[in-house]
């Protein structure tokens, strides 16, 4: 699977807000959330197209690092994009955003694009955090904002793809040092070999979006 760029994302936020579910929802369309069963996973990749270029998104869920400072900072440092997720039915997850954001700003490279995601928008009846509050927080801190549902898949595509667009624009503007792999961006192999073994099947596998 040849790509022009690979962007590494991390996905952060309190436990239970739906990070793993969002990740799977985006990276693997086969797990459609139609059966009242939301499944999550902590790693995934998917190809998208921006501006006619194939871009691979590789997403790392940062779960399991809670008590280790070294791990948190290292994860941040390796990412070009971060999805900061809270759960609209739990105000505490919204209240913790400031801490998450401080951490992210402190440890990430300064160009990392952060998208604020208000998840579980399908649970309107149990909503504790108004959309306006999320929007205001995002505006105040210079983040992109989106309400999503990993359960109905609403806005999930957009969240990941808009983040990628922003990163792509930053690359075009030349603010990202793409030769520095620690920025979470990798340049793809110069010459794609379409006939390489496994490539046709790879496309069929987890890719999902590359069609």
């Amino acid at each position: 699977m040849a790509y022009a760029y690979l962007f590494k994302y991390i996905i952060i936020g309190d436990t239970g807000v739906g990070k793993s579910c969002l990740l799977l929802q985006f990276t693997d369309k086969r797990f459609q959330p139609v059966h009242d069963l939301t499944i999550g996973v902590e790693f995934g990749a998917r190809m998208i197209t921006i501006d006619g270029k194939q871009i691979k998104l590789q997403i790392w869920d940062t779960a399991g690092q809670e008590s280790f400072r070294s791990i948190t900072r290292s994860y941040y440092r390796g990412a070009a994009g971060a999805l900061l997720v809270y759960d609209i039915t739990r105000r505490d997850t919204f209240n913790h955003l400031t801490t998450w954001l401080e951490d992210a700003r402190q440890h990430s490279n300064s160009n990392m694009v952060i998208m604020l995601i208000a998840n579980k928008s399908d649970l309107e009846s149990r909503r504790e955090v108004k959309k306006e509050e999320g929007e205001a927080f995002a505006r105040e801190h210079g983040l992109i904002f989106m309400e999503t549902s990993a359960k109905t898949a609403s806005n999930v595509e957009e969240a990941f793809i808009n983040t990628a667009k922003e990163i792509y624009e930053k690359i075009q503007e030349g603010v990202f040092d793409i030769n520095n792999e620690a920025n979470g961006i990798k340049i793809g192999p110069q010459h794609s070999t379409p006939g390489s073994p496994g490539s046709h099947m790879g496309g069929q596998q987890a890719g999902g979006g590359c069609c």
């Binding site: 069963l37 499944i39 399991g64 280790f68 620690a182 999902g208």
Partner: protein, 1042 residues
């Protein structure tokens, strides 16, 4: 997208109801039994089957326990393994790995988890050699291991660690990737290891220590060192800051490693910590970092890094790692150690040949991690009972060790060795453990006793003299590097190192007390480290120099350290002479800022902005030491993107900003040490301002009724009131007649007023709140159209606002002048609201008039500024000693008096320029024609232009300044190196004469004149006191003329 999904819809999408059910799983099982061999034809079917099974299992975990029973009964995992072993390619392997990830991530019931883990299938999958060159396979695989490590606890550990076969695939397979090129994979590996170390299972931890710790930690430490050498090369070969990107990466990597090591150490697993500390200290920190501090010129086969890099990295170590045994040993070597520890070891090395791996040396591990692990595993297989200790190479240890602390560590290691040798036959793990713990505790105790003894010895030694410093090459290096003769490149690192050591709570306070660096000294402190304090003061002096090469970060850190050294909760123990020197530096910073002071509006904005950013962003040393940019020689250009405080100023504006900050820092320090509160800064104090919902007495104020239409279209009726610093919008108070409730208040100085094109009754008013953090932009707190009842009132309002704005700014400028000891012209203008405020404060409309009082009565301000100088005992002492001293070094010399005559130049020129400036501001504001302009704001801009002096005059005066500065006050010129240390001198206030010559506070002549003023309080005619500074220079001038 749909094209691809069709393949599985055809399999699973029959009817929604039975997609997740036991029957469905049975059907899938059937499919698996029919397709045991993977072929191109059934590949898609198999992948989809596995995927469906995953879904059903997760569903079953939550809804139907019979699903797992069936899965287990049919041993369906074996099918997975069978498929895996057929080398069926990334498509199938990827699906299997994703499935495993999902199962372990989503399953909630413990019984389900135990089902999955039983029969060792998971371990078989862990050791399977996947195609790790594939990014995705690698990602899934390492995440799978991570997910498993999260599930590891004392109940599940036996599924992974097999005591009998000495297998712990989850751990050993994971650490093989510790140096993987992909950053995220390395992070995951570290995460996995930490999750494992955290599980408190003794047999497992024993296994880790005995079979894996030496190989893993020695390799880890080796690669950290390799990166450090790379980092150093990057610093040394840098040209034009081109290596910044790479350097940044390497610095972060080093920090990542340190944080990782620290995370291991704080899990506080004693066995692991011993091994890790030993390797870290003796294979990396001492032989590479500390060794590189000295003898850079002598050739050596040992690998080295440059001293500035070593200092920087050691600071990072002390800022990050607080594990007592490690940081104590390290600090002890730096403060007390000498080179013998390396040389004696080296001889030792020659005797024993290269096989000795316990030497204190940065060397490559003798075999790769994988090989070591493999060998250890085989060894373990053959004889289970054998428990080789973690240092099974290089068992011999010599007795003569230079440093006690190193000795202590080695002792511990030896204890472990001896015990394990002893225990080889018995194989009783519990017993070994006990012995190790007891012995090491005993070792600790004895070392504590030794420690105390040495402290006493040290003290008497210190009291006796300073000869001991001769064999402390590392400490000497630290001290000598504090001098910033050329620039502060290295100085900053030393300050950071001292800061980091003093804030490291793992270091035994008694160690630091030896150099008086302890934050919380055990005893009542009445002495401090004179050498250190003097060097810090010299940095401060240096920073107030016009041509100073001291960066703001360096100055701020020096201030922090100085406070730390002499300021304790209740009292400040600084000696008068040092305080006097410091006051000298503060005075110089006032001089420096006067050079840049201009009556221009922008100066006020800069002044306030610098204050804000300094207050909102105090120096954080930890963050400072994460910044790679300071590793490269200091530069001035902002084009590098380096933060202002971490580089030199570029251009006049930045030099002004720098001078402002130096002034703030030294002023704050001086007030701090004299225990005086700050009463002048910030110029605008939040608590003095009118706030929304305040209720004001407006009986004598001018109020203009208006309609305010905000940007979003809200429309309200308000009265506009203009106060000294603020404009406010009020509505009548329902309770008291003539009083009003504030609905909005904003600073006049940040206001823009413009007319509205086709409405002569309306004004557009915007007030911006200045940006508080670099991330936020200034944002408008008011953006509205004001509509007045007629165009006359509109003009009046506009006039009032414009005047108010100018006055608000002028008042603040006057306060700045007062702060800089510049003469202030009392404003003839009416302050505040119209006529009422002219009379006296009691008629003033608003509740508070602290600020105008403070500013309006210039003389008191002047007086208080001078009075604060008056209080400094140091001046008297300094003057006294200077007068009586016959030491040739301290006697006033002709050059110094001639240089002081030079100082009249700048003072005069500054004075004239400033005194004339306010009047220039005044005239246009009096001119009411200004109000005819369509935009007040633009008018003010032009006013600024009018205000500036003709270029020629300003330039010439500046040039004059520059040339005069070079032979100006002695405290601006680098002081001579101290020849003696004052450390020994801790019980007396009588200071040696030599110490006075270290940093003359100000020119001796000036001191004479000062003393004259001080001695004759009758002369404290305010006007004269106000100009005390000029008295000094005048008399000095007189001297020269004689």
């Amino acid at each position: 997208m749909f094209g691809r999904s069709r393949s599985w819809v055809s399999v699973s999408g029959r009817s929604g109801s039975n997609v997740h059910s036991l029957d469905r799983l049975k059907y899938m099982y059937h499919v698996l039994t029919k397709n045991t061999t993977v072929t191109d034809q059934n590949r898609n079917l198999l992948v989809e089957t596995i995927r469906s099974i995953t879904e059903i299992l997760i569903w079953g975990d939550q809804n139907d326990s019979s699903v797992f029973d069936f899965f287990l009964e049919k041993n369906m995992f074996v099918f997975f393994l069978n498929i895996l072993r057929q080398k069926s390619g990334r498509y199938v392997c990827g699906q299997l790995l994703q499935t495993l990830n999902m199962l372990f991530e989503n399953i909630n019931h413990e019984t389900s988890l135990y089902y999955l883990l039983s029969n060792n299938h998971v371990n078989s999958i862990i050791v399977h050699k996947f195609d790790f060159s594939d990014e995705e396979i690698m990602g899934y695989y390492i995440c799978f291991l991570k997910t498993l490590s999260v599930k590891l606890n004392s109940h599940t550990v036996h599924f992974f660690y097999n005591e009998h076969t000495n297998d712990f695939a989850l751990y050993t397979e994971a650490i093989k990737f510790f140096n993987h090129p992909e950053h995220m994979v390395r992070v995951a590996v570290r995460n996995i290891t930490l999750n494992i170390y955290k599980v408190n299972n003794q047999p497992m931890l024993h296994y880790i220590r005995d079979k894996t710790a030496v190989p893993y930690f020695s390799n880890l430490v080796w690669f950290i060192g390799i990166h450090v050498i790379e980092l150093d090369k990057c610093v040394q070969t840098d040209e034009e800051h081109k290596n910044r990107g790479t350097l940044s990466n390497l610095v972060s990597q080093h920090l990542d490693h340190l944080n990782y090591l620290n995370d291991i150490l704080i899990i506080d697993c004693e066995f692991l910590n011993d091994v890790l500390t030993d390797h870290l200290l003796n294979r990396l920190l001492l032989p590479l970092y500390v060794f590189s501090l000295v003898n850079q010129d002598k050739p050596s086969e040992r690998p080295r890094i440059s001293p500035q890099v070593a200092l920087y990295l050691l600071s990072q170590v002390f800022l990050t790692i607080h594990y007592a045994p490690l940081v104590n040993s390290l600090a002890d070597v730096i403060l007390n150690g000498d080179l013998s520890m390396f040389s004696s070891k080296a001889e030792h090395d020659v005797q024993q040949g290269s096989a000795d791996y316990s030497i204190r040396c940065f060397t490559k591990p003798h075999e790769t991690l994988e090989k070591s692990l493999e060998l250890n595993r085989q060894r373990g297989r053959k004889k289970h009972q054998k428990r080789p200790n973690y240092k099974n190479v290089g068992e011999e240890e010599e007795d003569e060790k230079p440093s006690e602390d190193i000795q202590e560590d080695i002792d511990k290691g030896k204890v472990a060795e001896n015990t394990s040798k002893f225990a080889k036959g018995s194989g009783d793990t519990e017993e070994i453990e006990m012995v190790i713990m007891e012995r090491s505790k005993a070792a600790e105790k004895s070392s504590v006793i030794k420690e105390e003894n040495t402290t006493d010895e040290e003290k008497s030694e210190a009291a006796a003299g300073v000869h001991s410093s001769q064999n402390r090459p590392f400490l000497d290096m630290v001290y000598s590097t504090l001098e910033c003769t050329e620039d502060d490149y290295y100085t900053l690192f030393v300050l950071c190192l001292l800061y980091a050591m003093s804030h490291n709570n793992g270091i035994d306070p008694s160690k630091l007390e030896r150099i008086h660096l302890c934050l919380r000294p055990a005893k009542e402190a009445n002495t401090y480290n004179h050498v250190l304090v003097e060097r810090l003061i010299r940095i401060m002096n240096n920073s107030a120099n016009l041509e100073s090469k001291v960066r703001l970060a360096t100055l701020e850190l020096a201030c922090i350290l100085l406070k730390q050294l002499v300021l304790f909760e209740a009292d400040c123990i600084i000696k008068d002479i040092h305080l006097a020197c410091l006051e000298g530096a503060r005075e110089e910073s006032v001089h420096l800022l006067r050079h840049f002071y201009k009556g221009e509006e922008i100066f006020l904005d800069m002044f306030e902005d610098e204050y804000r950013s300094m207050a909102s962003k105090p120096l954080n040393v930890e963050y400072l030491m994460m910044d790679e940019s300071i590793l490269l020689p200091p530069t001035g250009t902002p084009l590098t993107g380096i933060d202002f405080v971490k580089r030199l100023p570029c251009g006049d504006v930045e030099r002004t900003r720098r001078a402002i900050r130096v002034f703030f820092m030294l002023r704050a320090l001086s007030l701090n040490l004299r225990k005086e509160p700050e009463t002048q800064l910030p110029l605008t104090r939040e608590e003095d301002l009118i706030k929304t919902d305040d209720v004001l007495d407006l009986n004598n104020s001018d109020l203009i009724a208006c309609t305010v239409i905000t940007k979003v279209g809200d429309q309200v009726q308000r009265f506009l009131a203009v106060d000294i610093y603020q404009m406010s919008l009020v509505e009548p108070d329902s309770k008291r007649l003539g009083w009003g409730v504030v609905k909005f208040a904003g600073l006049l100085q940040d206001m823009q007023v413009t007319g509205v094109e086709d409405d002569s009754r309306a004004l557009n008013i915007t007030i911006h709140k200045p940006a508080s953090t670099p991330h936020s932009k200034p944002f408008p707190i008011l953006q509205a159209t004001f509509i007045f009842s007629d165009h006359i009132r509109c003009i009046i309002a506009k006039q009032r606002l414009a005047k108010g704005r100018i006055q608000a700014r002028r008042m603040k400028m006057q306060r700045i002048s007062a702060l800089l000891d510049l003469p202030v012209q009392p404003s003839k203008e009416v302050v505040g609201f119209g006529h009422s405020s002219t009379s006296s404060t009691q008629h003033l409309p608003f509740r508070f008039y602290e600020q105008p009082r403070r500013v309006g009565s210039d003389l008191t301000v002047q007086n208080s500024v001078f009075a604060s100088v008056d209080k400094v005992p140091g001046f008297a002492v300094a003057q006294c000693i200077n007068q009586h001293s016959v030491s040739p070094a301290s006697s006033p010399s002709p050059p110094s008096s001639s240089s002081s005559s030079g100082s009249t130049g700048p003072c005069d020129s500054v004075t004239t320029s400033v005194t004339s400036t306010p009047s220039t501001i005044q005239s246009p504001s009096d001119d009411s024609s200004i109000m005819d302009q369509p935009s007040v704001y633009s008018q003010i801009e032009t006013t600024e232009d009018n205000l500036s002096f003709p270029t020629w005059s300003r330039k010439s005066s500046l040039r004059k300044l520059d040339s005069e500065i070079t032979n100006l006050a002695p405290s601006l010129t680098p002081a001579p190196q101290p020849t003696i240390s004052l450390i020994s001198d801790d019980n007396t206030d009588s200071l040696s004469v030599e110490s006075l010559t270290l940093v003359p506070p100000i020119d001796p002549c000036s001191i004479h004149s000062f003393s004259f003023i001080l001695e004759s309080p009758l002369k404290s005619d305010l006007q004269k006191c106000e100009n005390a500074k000029f008295c000094v220079t005048e008399s000095a001038d007189g001297n020269t003329k004689q």
